[in-house]
Amino acid sequence: MKILSFLLAFALSFSAHAQLFLTQTGETRFFSKTPVEDISAVNKKVGVVLNSQTGEIVVRMAITDFNFPNKLMQEHFNENYLESEKYPYGLFRGKIQNLPDLTKPGTYDVSAPGSLDIHGVKQDRTMKGKITVQGDKITLQSDLQVALVDHKIEVPKLVFAKIAEVIDVKNQFVLQKK
């Protein structure tokens, strides 16, 4: 009986350690310079969750939440480029390798290998970025480049505004302890 209770405590201690940090209002923006006009968009409703024990991280964003200054561009982006009716979400699942102690304030360089799923095409990617710890708040910053070819995003040959083959993406996620 003693052993059983010890075991239970032991099992419980495992789950007690797993601390989740999350946000539903992370920001992802991307930018593409074209000779005609610059294309930029921001998504302020990115969901991010991080397990401080295992370093597992999931980032999910609805493609339709990207806001463009030019609404016609936004329509084309959703309808023809990312086909957001078919593939509503962009998703990253990864695991932060060199996870620092998230109880100690400071800024740390981290990298997270995982899979990036955009437009229904999964790519193995390693995200590199910075983690800044301030009390119960963790800020994740990460820049990456996404090649359109990698995710089968087609640019029509007739397009006047030449879209860059590689898109610069910036992420800033402020996570709160759950």
């Binding site: 495992f14 797993a18 610059d38 969750v49 561009m73 959703n78 007739l158 505004a161």
Partner: protein, 304 residues
């Protein structure tokens, strides 16, 4: 012995349980109720071919439209199959809000200026309305000077130059490839050449996407005219119901609409009362619409 086996079993079960729970939890903790999303891109532009679609210009955006209709295909090689002549309409449309658009245009046919308002009454959405409904009202003002020759109408005051059109545009996007629209319409002519002053009509039109960026469109307006109503266009020519078929090509930023129609006019008043071509006898005008959108929305500033 028993105890140690139990220990391992229990530990294993507990550990695998927590591991699995975390895996699910991670994505589950992000789940949020899906909000209502409005159907976008029922049509690619504010025009189906000649007439309007349910689409309005987005708030603080300005659309510049250039529409052309060449002469008749059956006018022979001397007239380069119609390409030697063209009628044109230039237009500007501004989105006051996402749902309210004001527009102005001018065409060379009878030097007509058209002013209109469009209001999106209902929007098709995932958990709501099955249909999009947009209300449309326009005044087409004929500004050509009165000449006392047989082929032009005599205007004695400015009231006789106003021609009002009222429409309800009712559409549904059935799939990402197919949209259909019905257009109950009332056109009032202040001074018809010959025929009734009020012309009720109903239009039907749609688009079918044959590839990601190309769609085939068709549009037909049936007018309710009694047998005795001989509605004639200026010059005493018989007018027909407006027929049009075309393709839309989206090139990112622009939409090209290329089409064939029996109406040389590009606004409601003109294609409902002055479409003088018999489409099935080759009185077909080749034409195009091009639109370019400019954004004046400073709120979404580029804080890159």
């Amino acid at each position: 012995m028993k105890n140690s086996v139990l220990f391992f079993l229990l530990a294993f079960v507990c550990l695998s349980q927590t591991a699995r729970a975390q895996d699910d939890d991670l994505l589950k903790s992000l789940d949020q109720p899906t909000s209502k999303t409005f159907t976008s891109a029922t049509f690619k532009g504010t025009r189906l071919i000649n007439g309007h679609t349910v689409e309005t210009v987005k708030g603080k955006h300005l659309d510049f439209l250039i529409s052309h209709r060449f002469g008749r295909l059956n006018s022979g090689v001397d007239n380069f199959y119609g390409l030697d002549e063209a009628s044109i309409r230039l237009g500007l449309e501004y989105g006051i809000t996402d749902r309210l658009t004001a527009g102005v245009g001018r065409s060379n046919i009878q030097k007509t200026v058209d002013l209109y308002l469009k209001y999106r009454l209902l929007r098709q959405s995932t958990q709501g309305s099955l249909l999009s409904v947009t209300l449309f009202a326009s005044d087409a003002i004929v500004t050509e000077p009165t000449r006392s020759n047989a082929s032009s109408t005599l205007y004695y005051n400015n009231g006789e130059r106003q021609n009002w059109t009222f429409q309800a545009l009712i559409a549904r996007k059935f799939s990402d490839r197919f949209s259909l629209q019905l257009m109950p319409t009332l056109l009032t002519l202040a001074k018809p050449e010959q025929g009734p002053k009020a012309i009720p009509a109903v239009g039907i039109g749609g688009r079918f996407k044959i590839s990601k960026r190309v769609s085939i469109n068709a549009e037909y307006y049936a007018r309710f005219l009694s047998e005795s109503d001989q509605l004639t266009a200026p010059g005493g020519v018989k007018s027909y119901n407006a027929v049009a078929v075309g393709v839309d090509i989206e090139t990112g930023g622009h939409v090209f609409q290329l089409h064939f129609t029996n109406s040389q006019g590009m606004i409601e008043k003109q294609f409902l009362s002055q479409a003088t071509g018999n489409f099935f006898k080759g009185d077909i005008h080749y034409g195009f619409n091009i639109s370019r959108t400019f954004s004046f929305d400073r709120k979404t500033k580029k804080d890159w």
